[in-house]
């Protein structure tokens, strides 16, 4: 008899993902769902979908879901969690959503240490609207709105959200992960699981930044996109745990 060693997590619905071939949004969804399965929390979880390619995330998770206005998911999560403190609340947000239009909301939710888990998908671009510059787009990166490459003189340098939020005292857990190889994926899942576990334990705010590909708007094949992420993004966005209440220095 063979044992199933890898199967579709129950916390995912059967609906096929709407993402482009090779897009990491799908891997991230699956990891969240696996964690929900393993912690047995799907029945008590409320997820908040952003505006961005993952606006359809509400279709994919087997738990209560709500779509928030662009960037406002941390505020919406705050409202939900304050009314339903016994539910598990997570937001799922892109880089335009979290690091541009929703900067105020994420900083203050983190600073209040709302007991929520934030999954931050950094793909260095605005996917949904067709490839405009994101606050996280790399120096020199060509996008629809930085056609000559991102020029730090006038466009600023890419924002490192984990580092920025780690300057706050209150958050419980802040980490950056990637998904370009199995070892990374295993680590990413551990980080996401910690994020949810800390919420269950009432430790406070957690954020997991996932470096993610957008093959479509990067103009690369999925394989090339993975390579670009490893070669260009990881050196600028180091993979690390930036904050962990369990390891107070």
């Amino acid at each position: 008899m063979m044992k199933k060693v890898f199967a579709r997590p129950k916390s995912l619905t059967e609906v096929p993902f709407t993402y482009c071939p090779g897009c990491h949004h799908g891997i991230i969804h699956r990891l969240i769902a696996e964690v929900m399965d393993e912690l047995n929390i799907a029945q008590d979880t409320i997820g908040i979908a952003p505006v961005g390619c993952s606006v359809f995330a509400y279709l994919f998770f087997n738990c209560d879901m709500i779509v928030a206005a662009h960037g406002r998911a941390p505020a919406v999560a705050t409202g939900i969690k304050r009314v339903k403190p016994n539910n598990i609340v997570f937001t799922y947000q892109g880089d335009g959503d979290l690091a541009s239009i929703g900067t105020a909301e994420i900083v203050h939710a983190a600073n209040r240490s709302e007991k929520i888990t934030v999954i931050f998908v950094n793909n260095a671009i605005y996917g949904m609207t067709g490839g405009q510059m994101a606050p996280t787009s790399l120096e020199g990166q060509v996008t629809q709105t930085s056609p000559y490459g991102r020029d730090p003189k006038t466009m600023g340098m890419p924002i490192r959200m984990c580092e920025l939020l780690s300057t706050l005292n209150s958050p419980a857990y802040i980490a950056r992960v990637a998904l370009t190889k199995p070892a990374y994926i295993i680590r990413a899942k551990k980080a996401i699981k910690k994020g949810f576990q800390y919420q269950i334990d009432g430790k406070g705010f957690s954020l997991i930044e996932v470096l993610s590909t957008c093959p479509t708007n990067w103009g690369l094949s999925p394989k090339e996109a993975n390579e670009w992420l490893e070669k260009k993004m990881i050196p600028y966005y180091p993979l690390a745990e930036f904050k962990n209440v369990e390891e107070v220095s």
């Binding site: 063979m2 044992k3 199933k4 060693v5 890898f6 199967a7 579709r8 995912l12 096929p16 993902f17 993402y19 482009c20 071939p21 090779g22 897009c23 990491h24 949004h25 799908g26 891997i27 699956r30 998904l179 190889k181 199995p182 994926i185 295993i186 093959p215 094949s221 999925p222 394989k223 993975n226």
Partner: protein, 67 residues
């Protein structure tokens, strides 16, 4: 002995599973699925070690692994 089941209709032909497979037995099929993608298929299935790297990497959760 291990086995990978491919849901060819979920597959979007991204090829990421072919890169991570240590046995190099995940390849792209010449045929099309309903969404007009070339889905993944396994050659020499007896070589599969059940590591599930392919499934772990698949963005569309198209793979199941038995061991």
């Amino acid at each position: 002995m291990a086995k990978v089941i491919i849901d060819q209709e979920r597959c979007k032909g991204c090829e990421l599973c072919t890169i991570v497979c240590p046995q190099k037995i995940m390849v792209m099929s010449k045929s099309f699925n309903k969404k007009s993608y070339h889905p993944a298929e396994q050659i020499n299935p007896e070589k599969c070690n059940g590591c599930a790297f392919c499934a772990m990497t698949c963005p569309d959760v198209a793979l199941e692994v038995y061991k």
